[in-house]
């Protein structure tokens, strides 16, 4: 009698969980890709954890708080590590609708991934799309900050160069006018005529007109 019951139960289970069955989802794990040397082997204990995580997700759905681990059925486990699973109702006669399972898994995807040290790409639920993490947008785009910094430096440099240019210009213009002022003040000045300094109040006897002296040397020889 017991044997008959056992066969009946497994038969029902077998019917409920079928590849491409109604409300069945295929799961694919790529443990070696994700963890490399630290990859763990997929055994019945891991399967138990998986069932627990799915049950946990379902218990968060209103009206499904009574889901137990035994309600989650796995089948067709392959070496790839891929398998199909369904979630049955408490009476274990029919499977829960795919939409509910889908939303439950999506809400808790992160917890499920973390339990297995995997991510959305290495623990795949086919037909359950993952919500992509939105990129973190800083309030001010970084490029504007860098642009602002460089532009300010350039503006400051331009101002400095223009101002120093104006200063140099003024110094050049004031140079000759400064000379005229000091001549009026009659300080120690030497009047210069034709590039030859001449001293109008020269007290030396015997005025030597420098202009004529040097002119001799400048004339070309005949």
């Amino acid at each position: 009698m017991l044997w008959l019951l056992f066969f009946l139960v497994t038969a029902i289970h077998a019917e409920l969980c079928q590849p491409d069955g109604e409300n069945a989802f295929k799961v694919r794990l790529s443990i070696r890709t994700a963890l490399g040397d630290k990859a763990y082997a997929w055994d019945t204990n891991e399967e138990y954890l998986f069932k627990a995580m799915v049950a946990f997700s379902m218990r968060k759905v209103p009206n499904r708080e009574t889901t137990e681990i035994s309600h989650v059925l796995l089948c067709n486990v392959t070496q790839r590590v891929s398998f199909w699973f369904v979630v049955t109702d408490p009476s274990k006669t029919h499977t829960l609708p795919a939409v509910e399972i889908q939303s439950a898994i999506r809400m808790n995807r992160n917890r499920i991934n973390n339990a297995f040290f995997l991510n959305d790409q290495t623990l795949e639920f086919l037909r359950i799309p993952s919500t992509l993490a939105p990129p973190t947008d800083p309030p001010v785009p970084i490029w504007i900050i860098i642009f602002g910094v460089i532009f300010c430096i350039v503006i400051v440099a331009t101002m400095l160069l223009i101002l120093s240019g104006i200063q140099q210009h003024r110094r050049k213009n004031e140079g000759p006018s400064e000379m005229e002022d000091t001549e009026d003040k009659c300080e120690n000045t030497i009047t210069v005529e034709n590039g030859i300094p001449c001293d109008p109040l020269d007290m030396k006897g015997g005025h030597i007109n420098d202009a004529f002296m040097t002119e001799d040397e400048r004339l070309t020889p005949l």
């Binding site: 070696r32 070496q79 790839r80 799309p129 970084i142 490029w143 532009f151 331009t158 160069l161 210009h169």
Partner: protein, 634 residues
């Protein structure tokens, strides 16, 4: 030996005699700008010659024309064409001590058109070249974040997947075409000004203005950084590149010689064009820079050094670029293969690790044998290393798509991105110095701008004017305009100007006179090699390249590539014919500088005729300096 010299009356009066040169140099010491030291001059010339083309044009040409075998035409034409022209420009600038317009009008008044054409071409090139620098700056600003913005696609509106355009092409393509250029689908669809590009353009022009504000006084300081930094960055990238997986396959691919390419005339044509454009000849900038030298500067040595450095930089940059491209190609190949392996093990539920790159083929056979029906449903990609290595690797595609993608795959990506874009920025900026010099000095010589105005104001006005015109490149169709100008403004006119330059110096100025000048300046006459090059070989080469170009361009339909998401073969670019009004633009941009040369000569001829009719002879202009007591003149 061809001893043809055209009659050139009044040449003595227009140019300072050899004896006067040293005296003039003394006199001009305070008024005319000059180099602080030889290093500044060399760095400026090297910076002008070494530009973006060395990094993104030469490696492509090298690889597509037979790899290592391309060195042969390149080096031959470097020696036959590049070095003689460079020496000629340096020597004539140093001798006549004027900018391009001054030099050509001193040789013969009717040749002023050559200088004006140089100025026009320099102006056109400045317009679009600084826009490329603006794009480089935009990428530079965006490099200070991790992850880099071009490493992942943005999410679509309801966050279920990536933006469609990005998912179909790639994150780097999307960032370049959409988030940077926001490109339209044709040159007709102008769209509006993209404000972020406008900001980058403003920044680029302001930086340029700061550097050229007082002419070579400020650029001479700036080149210490802008000319040396690219070499440092290239070396860093070389070291980094060689430690990456797959780098050697890239370098091998680049230099594998294919000697049969040497029989293809297009190879020689491309080599000649590359040498010519790489030396920034005929822009007028080099003549200007050389004119600030002292009279006895050894310009022969300078031209040899600059040429060697330029050639070496091209090869060095090609090595670096292809090591990184090899890395990227290997990564892509591995990714492609992994996808195929995944397809196989997912389809047949095989354990991971059973299928590797080595046994993939036999596993495929095994699977096919075990379940042909299921196997037939699997779709595999073709992974071809060679096609990955030769993907779109020239021009902006290399810098902004291929290289940026390679950078995202390296650890510490933001650092490499910042370094790479600083290098491109310095390369571009140092070339812009020469371009601006080629625009500013002729405008001064033509007395378009009053000489009394301070230099800061003059450079400011020119920068502002060019900046405002460059707004056209910030539109949605800006990149199409840029490619248009790049193809036609910076190509044919330069060849013609260079030909006329050689012709003028050798046959109008007189090569004998030129030889005597050089003997005075550097101490020995140019030897037989230079004579043969200047008189016959180089002008002939210019003519041949020009004719070839003309034949090829005229035969081709004017087509361009557009980025059109609606195209069936997207993400491939769609080839579209230019609208008819573009032909007018091409004629304007390429034809005007070429026609200015004969046009000005005709204009001068007519003016002389009219003057002679009115029986008024123009006074012979001779340099005179006021002297009260009769300064001795030698």
């Amino acid at each position: 030996m061809v001893r043809l010299v055209l009659p050139n009356p009044g040449l003595e009066a227009r140019t300072p005699s050899l004896g006067q040169l040293e005296y003039i140099e003394e006199e001009e010491r305070s008024s005319r700008p000059k180099w602080d030291n030889k290093a500044q001059y060399m760095l400026t010339c090297v910076g002008f010659c070494v530009g973006l083309g060395n990094v993104w044009r030469f490696p492509y040409l090298c690889q597509s024309h037979g790899g290592g075998a391309f060195m042969i035409p390149f080096l031959i034409l470097l020696v036959l064409e590049g070095i003689p022209l460079l020496y000629l420009e340096f020597a004539i600038g140093q001798r006549l001590r004027k900018g391009s317009v001054g030099v050509w009008s001193a040789i013969h008044p009717a040749l002023k058109g050559v200088g004006i054409a140089s100025m026009f071409v320099s102006f056109m090139v400045s317009l679009y070249y600084n826009t490329i620098i603006a794009w480089v700056m935009w990428y530079f600003f965006n490099s200070f974040q991790d992850p880099l913005p071009w490493s992942q696609c943005p999410l679509n509106a309801n966050q279920t997947g990536y933006v469609e355009e990005c998912a179909r092409s790639s994150p780097v393509d999307y960032f370049w075409y959409r988030e940077t250029l926001n490109i339209s689908t044709s040159i007709n669809a102008s769209g509006s000004v993209q404000w972020w590009i406008l900001l980058s353009l403003t920044c680029a022009w302001s930086v340029l203005y700061v550097c050229v504000i007082r002419g070579i006084e400020t650029t001479g300081k700036a080149v210490y950084i802008t000319s040396t930094l690219p070499y440092i960055v290239l070396t860093i990238f070389l070291i980094r590149g060689l430690t990456l997986k797959g780098a050697t396959s890239g370098i091998v691919f680049l230099f594998t010689p294919n000697v049969t390419e040497l029989a293809n005339p297009v190879t020689w044509l491309d080599a000649g064009a590359q040498v010519f454009y790489s030396f920034s000849l005929a822009f007028g900038g080099l003549i200007s820079f050389s004119s600030y030298n002292s009279v006895h500067n050894n310009c022969e040595m300078d031209s040899l050094i600059v040429s060697v450095i330029n050639g070496f930089t091209s090869v060095y940059a090609a090595t670096v670029v292809y090591s990184i491209i090899g890395f990227r190609a290997t990564e892509r190949f591995d990714d492609c293969f992994s996808t195929n392996i995944l397809t196989l093990i997912n389809g047949f539920d095989l354990p991971e690790g059973n299928v590797t790159q080595e046994n993939f083929a036999e596993m495929q056979q095994w699977c096919n044998a075990s379940d042909p029906a299921a196997y037939a449903e699997l779709k595999f990609h073709t992974c071809d290393m060679k096609s990955f290595l030769s993907e779109g690797v020239e021009g902006t595609g290399l810098a902004f798509i291929v290289f940026t993608e390679a950078i995202t795959k390296m650890p510490l990506s933001p650092l490499w991105a910042v370094l790479f874009f600083i290098m491109l920025f310095c390369l571009g900026l140092s070339s812009m110095f020469g371009n601006m010099e080629g625009v500013l000095i002729p405008l001064q010589d033509l007395n378009v701008l009053p000489r009394k105005w301070p230099k800061e104001l003059l450079t400011g006005l020119i920068c502002l004017g060019t900046y405002l015109i460059a707004f056209i490149f910030t539109l949605n169709s800006g990149q199409y305009w840029l490619s248009l100008l790049d193809s036609y403004a910076g190509s044919i006119p330069l060849l013609i100007i260079a030909f006329f330059e050689m012709f003028s110096v050798v046959y109008v100025y007189g090569v004998d006179r030129f030889n005597r000048d050089i003997e005075f300046m550097i101490g020995h006459k140019p030897n037989l090699f230079w004579q043969v090059m200047w008189r016959v070989v180089s002008p002939l080469l210019m003519l041949v390249i020009f004719l070839f170009f003309l034949v090829i361009e005229v035969n081709e339909d004017l087509i361009y590539s557009v980025w059109d998401p609606a195209y069936e073969e997207f993400p491939k670019s769609k080839k579209v014919k230019y609208p008819p009004w573009v032909y007018a633009v091409v004629v304007l941009v390429a034809g005007v500088p070429c026609l200015i040369i004969p046009g000005f000569a005709v204009y001068k001829l007519i003016r002389n005729r009219c003057r002679r009719r009115g029986d008024r002879q123009g006074l012979v202009s001779a340099p005179s300096s006021a002297s009260v007591n009769g300064d001795l003149r030698s």
